[in-house]
């Protein structure tokens, strides 16, 4: 079992997310992370799905995804074929105890403070899942009130861009 990142481009229609996830659940493939948002083309959604599976299965999954009416294109990538990141937000109680140590940690971790108010502050970090986890571990001593992280977003290293697929389709 290896990690694969699947990118799907689809119409922004009700129910399509359900159709996409059924393809995975039917084969008992767990979705580790899922991000859906509008792509560079208006009205077209971009899904980034992270799963652990084997390549043969994923090849089939991708073809089944492309079969869904409403899906333009589905592609899969191995870890080395993409550049990817996740966003993490940390909410920490504001107290006088938060001294310079925290600032140093934030700088060292390439994180930033988004909001500060008398009750709490919010720290943002963009990075790999493991890196964000590491920051969480280090912040725990200050008391983390909330920790939220996004799913993965990824762009591929391949040369052919999605807009060119879409152009091909409209011809």
């Amino acid at each position: 079992m290896k990690e694969y990142t699947i990118t799907v481009f689809s119409e922004n229609n009700i129910g399509l997310l359900n159709e996409v996830t059924i393809v995975f659940s039917r084969r008992k493939i767990n979705i580790e992370s899922l991000t859906v948002s509008e792509s560079e083309v208006k009205g077209v959604s971009r899904y980034t799905i992270v799963v652990f599976s084997d390549e043969k299965k994923i090849e089939n999954v991708v073809r089944q995804l492309e079969k869904i009416i409403g899906v333009f294109k589905a592609l899969y990538f191995k870890a080395e074929e993409i550049v990817h990141q996740e966003v993490a937000l940390f909410k920490i109680a504001n107290s006088p105890k938060l001294n310079g140590n925290l600032e140093a940690l934030i700088r060292r971790q390439n994180a930033k403070i988004l909001t500060v108010n008398p009750d709490f502050l919010v720290i943002e970090r963009v990075g790999y899942k493991a890196e964000n986890q590491e920051l969480f571990n280090e912040l725990e001593q200050y008391g983390v009130l909330q920790f939220a992280r996004s799913g993965r977003v990824a762009v591929s290293c391949q040369k052919k861009e999605f807009t060119s697929y879409l152009k091909e389709l409209s011809h």
Binding site: S10, E11, G15, N18, E19, I22, R26, E59, N60, R63, Q64, E66, K67, I69, G70, V71, F72, L169, S170
Partner: protein, 578 residues
Amino acid sequence: METAAKAENIKEMNNTGETLSGAEILVRSLIQEGVDTMFGYIGGAIMPVYDALYDYQKELKHYMSRHEQGATHSAQAYARLTKKPGVCFTTSGPGATNLLTGLADAYLDSTPMVVITGQVPSGLLGSDAFQETNMVGLSMPVTKWNFQITKVEEIAEVMAKAFYIARTGRPGPVLIDITKDAQVQKAEYKYERCKGIRSYQPVPKLNMDEILAAAELINSAKKPMILAGQGILLSGAEQELMEFAEKIQTPVACTLLGLSSFPTDHPLYVGMLGMHGNYGPNMNTNQCDVLIAIGMRFDDRVTGDTSKYAKQAKIVHIDIDRSEHNKNISVDVPVLADAKQALTELNKVVSGSEREEWMQSFKDYYQLEYEKVIEKQTHSSRERINMAEVIDCLSEKTNGEAVLCTDVGQHQMTSARYYKFKNPNTQVTSGGLGTMGFGMPAAIGAQIADPNATVVSVSGDGGFQMTIQELAVIRQYKLPVKSIVLNNSFLGMVRQWQDLFFEQRFSYTEMDNPDFVKIVEGYGIKAKRVSKREELQDAIQEMIDFPGAFFLEVVVETESNVLPMIAPGAAVSEMRLE
């Protein structure tokens, strides 16, 4: 004249500017799409549509089933024979959930259908209202596309899309769920047929490199073999297949659903593939050097153990659905194309000469199968009639020209093995899903599709009782459907597995059956039972000659197994003759 008048009528119906109810827009949409026949069952949430149908009885003939599942199977058979989407109407809730088996069946067997289910008013969606079920959610895994209409303005466009999707590319079922308020709201009617959807490419652009790569393999083959699937029938490529096979002098084997795509009396025809297929084509799958699979999907019932399937051969796989390539079997040359299109191009560039020795090996295998199985079954010396005797006799007496609708089980495999199909599209069966209860309602749809054909349903005593209520449809519409029940008082195929693989522990397969003749007579249908061999020929003849519906129960041997057989998990070349 009549057609011209009809066309004029339709044109008129398409005029714009008229304000109509959603129900009437829906009905007009059907007429626009060339629908003249439909199946269904009324209920609360679809009543406005049925009310509109009342005004269009001349244009649209609606056949009322006795259970929604029956309606779907009738519509499926209608679709397979006419190649037009089968249309079904049902209400919400239980009416709609009763369709799911038919949808799943049609999805696996690539049958075009447009199914319309009523739904509770949009304001009640999600409130667990009376007879509310989430049909879009439920049907998603078993439809090619589905959509819920909640506004009258959506109807015309969605219907156009539904028909376009159902019939193009690899056909399949589409479900449209329409809320009751959308059926009664009014809107301006304007219909435009769908010409394309940007995220859906039904007809792949033929890649000539693939054709040439396939031709190169085919032209250098010494022992090639053609596997013909339902794709041949769906694309109407029967002539192209014959030209192809004759050009390259290559034996043709059919999948279960591919039966009747190639005449069984053709010298290059070598039989059926798969678990209960013929011995030769299965054994030689692991002997051939090039396997040319057309419009088939390497189902596990065809391949047996995939790790021992045609390992020695180069495989060419022609299919319109890209997701079928390399799904079950890794292929050397995938050709993404409609079967007819691919074969037309291939026929320009392929050639071959007679392969006497190779053909002889099929004949030798057939001889062995004949001695070990066929002769014993068609000329049984046992007391009870064998199923094979019935099908053999039926085949002879109908000259292989009937439309045969079968259920699922031993009788289905026996029908597939022994009926000598002459004409394309004359077998209707449930292949992928294996739906018991499919056969008789399918025969209803087939008879409606082709009123002059001799349509025979063959069922077992188990399956027949799953949709027995559809006899009322035969009665109500005076359909001359012939129904045969091969009664062995067992769920025969399961019994066979218990016999072979479960140490003869016949767990819950024996059936204490009702008096079928009495039941059928209760529906006002002529019925007869035979149990003696010497009565069989005459009874079948009487059934065929009878001018109306006829039911024939044949009491058959219980202990007989369908052979040869590839045991589950075994390789095709490990097929057993006894």
